[in-house]
């Protein structure tokens, strides 16, 4: 059963720094590519989902993007779930179509990353009040707490976490769009990189860059008349539990556990059915925690599991075959969309040199803030 299908994808190659471009122009490039990829044109798009942090405007974002693209959608919204935004867009698009508000939804994310750009606007939330004055600012600290706790509780090692980073880098060597294409990596490289927030080192932490990505969702019926074999959204899940790390219900598991369980349940699948794992990977530790929350390996055993299994595109447990955000690049919220774009390419059997044999089912996850906002999708080739 599927409520919607992904019929088009578009993605810019991430770049470390942008200059001379606007966020709106990058969003438009990805959006037009996705629309054409679907075999559709501008007039077919009547739904629009965007992220909250478009460089040129903090408010009225859907209208600003719609005007720029010459769209007049009958459903538009901001999805504000951090790294979980992209996967959260997929089911919202399908739900809007089911509700009769529109037929074909453009989901688009991206941002510029200008050299020397100052941080975003100040705020007055509890993190600003109770974390920042002590010296905790940004996500790094929070993920370091998770890594330290997992290591203390289960004996997970830095070398084990580095293994997953290295496997993804190997995948990136077959992806010309990856920001670290042409730059191989070893476990020693990771372990010799400087500490940023112990126990996490530089090469275990995602590097911000510029870019954009988009995908198009329409009804399963309509999808069958389009250019490519549809990729069905056969299950989705979402859960939000907290914002500040001090308020997290657990330091070794997250709301992804519930979100993934929902996606499995809706699609009638389980971890053994997945031909690939496209897991949100802002930090090495997130891969480990997600593998456990997804039931791919037993709780507490992700460390040795990652070492014992071949996580590259050629192995039986392919993980982030495009390189993951750690090696493909995290272009703001579009980083989380890269996992969807890659899953679609794999399920269409269009992934080139890194194509997984007979790929039919993918688990995609999104993770916002610090294991705070979680989304999961099961995507399947239409003939499954």
């Amino acid at each position: 059963m599927s409520a919607g299908a992904i019929v088009g994808v578009g993605e810019l190659a991430p770049q470390r720094y942008s200059a001379g471009v606007t966020t709106l122009s990058m969003l438009a490039t990805a959006a037009i590519e996705a629309t054409h990829d679907a075999g559709l044109s501008r007039g077919d798009i009547d739904g629009l989902l965007v992220g909250p942090q478009v460089g040129e405007t903090p408010q009225h974002v859907p209208a600003t993007v719609a005007e720029y693209l010459g769209l007049q959608p009958t459903m538009a919204n901001v999805v504000d779930l951090g790294g979980a935004t992209a996967a959260g867009m997929a089911w919202r698009a399908a739900a809007a179509i089911q509700a009769g508000m529109c037929q074909t939804v453009l989901c688009v994310l991206g941002n510029i990353n200008e050299r020397g750009r100052v941080p975003r606007s100040p705020n007055r939330n509890p993190i600003r009040e109770f974390d920042v004055p002590f010296g905790a600012s940004g996500a790094n600290t929070s993920y370091a707490f998770l890594a330290q706790r997992h290591m203390a509780r289960y004996g997970t090692t830095s070398a084990q976490l580095a293994t997953a980073v290295v496997a993804q880098r190997e995948n990136a060597q077959l992806n010309p769009k990856a920001i670290f294409h042409g730059t191989p990596l070893t476990v020693d490289d990771v372990l010799n990189s400087p500490f940023v927030v112990e126990p996490l080192r530089l090469l275990e932490i995602v590097m911000p860059c510029a870019g954009a990505a988009a995908f198009i969702v329409t009804s399963p019926e309509r999808a069958r008349d389009l250019r490519h074999r549809p990729v069905m959204i056969s299950g989705a899940g979402e859960k939000i539990t907290h914002r500040a790390m001090s308020q997290a219900p657990s330091l070794t598991s997250g709301p992804l556990k519930a979100a993934i369980a929902s996606a499995y349940r809706q699609s009638g699948t389980g971890p053994a059915d997945m031909d690939m794992l496209q897991l949100y990977d802002c930090y090495s530790i997130v891969i480990a925690l997600t593998l456990e929350d997804a039931g791919v390996c037993p709780v507490g055993e992700s460390g040795p599991w990652m070492v014992e299994n071949d996580l590259t595109w050629r192995g039986p447990q392919p993980l982030n075959t495009h390189g993951g955000q750690l090696s493909f690049g995290q272009a703001d919220l579009a980083g989380g969309m890269s996992h969807i774009v890659e899953a679609v390419h794999q399920l269409r059997h269009q992934a080139g040199e890194r194509q997984i044999a007979d790929a039919r089912t993918a688990l995609v996850t999104g993770n916002g803030a610090t294991l705070s906002e979680a989304t999961a999708l099961v995507l399947q080739r239409e003939d499954v």
Binding site: D131, G138, P194, V197, E198
Partner: protein
């Protein structure tokens, strides 16, 4: 703490709200307070106008023991906020306070001192610019001072 704290004047200060002001006012008097729900009796932190556990609006301020354990910690080598660059490396920790809540704070401990998750800690007041902040220090195993 250390003479590095002379930089503290440039640290980002707390940003109290109308609801959280009593916490910061008490802190300047070196009293570590938290809210307790009058209806479900659970601790609430950071301060709120409503209990997140039962949605009661009846919250009372209590004085905390300031003792707890390290739920997790990190040695920050590259702080996210530039004001703390000269203080680095320093230890940030999630503290499980005995009174039933968790907060993020900084430890006065040397980063090389072999901290472990679960280590007991106690409150120590440290000036940071114009503010006094509740930092924590490990409690020695022998209980001595």
């Amino acid at each position: 703490m250390t003479n590095k704290d002379s930089k503290a004047a440039s640290y980002p200060p707390p940003t109290p709200t109308a609801v959280s002001a009593p916490f910061w006012e008490a802190a300047q008097e070196e009293r570590f307070v938290y809210q307790q729900c009058a209806d479900c009796a659970r601790a609430v932190f950071p301060p709120r106008a409503h209990c997140p556990h039962c949605w009661s609006q009846t919250l009372a301020w209590q004085e905390s023991t300031g003792e707890g354990t390290i739920a997790s910690f990190t040695v920050a080598h590259r702080p996210g906020h530039p004001a703390f660059a000269e203080l680095a490396p320093f230890v940030l920790a999630l503290i499980d306070v005995q009174d039933g809540f968790r907060l993020l704070s900084r430890l006065t401990q040397n980063p090389d001192a072999g901290l472990q998750v679960g280590d007991p800690v106690r409150l120590v007041w440290v000036a940071s610019g114009d503010w006094k902040l509740p930092l924590f220090e490990p409690i020695p195993v022998d209980g001595g001072q």
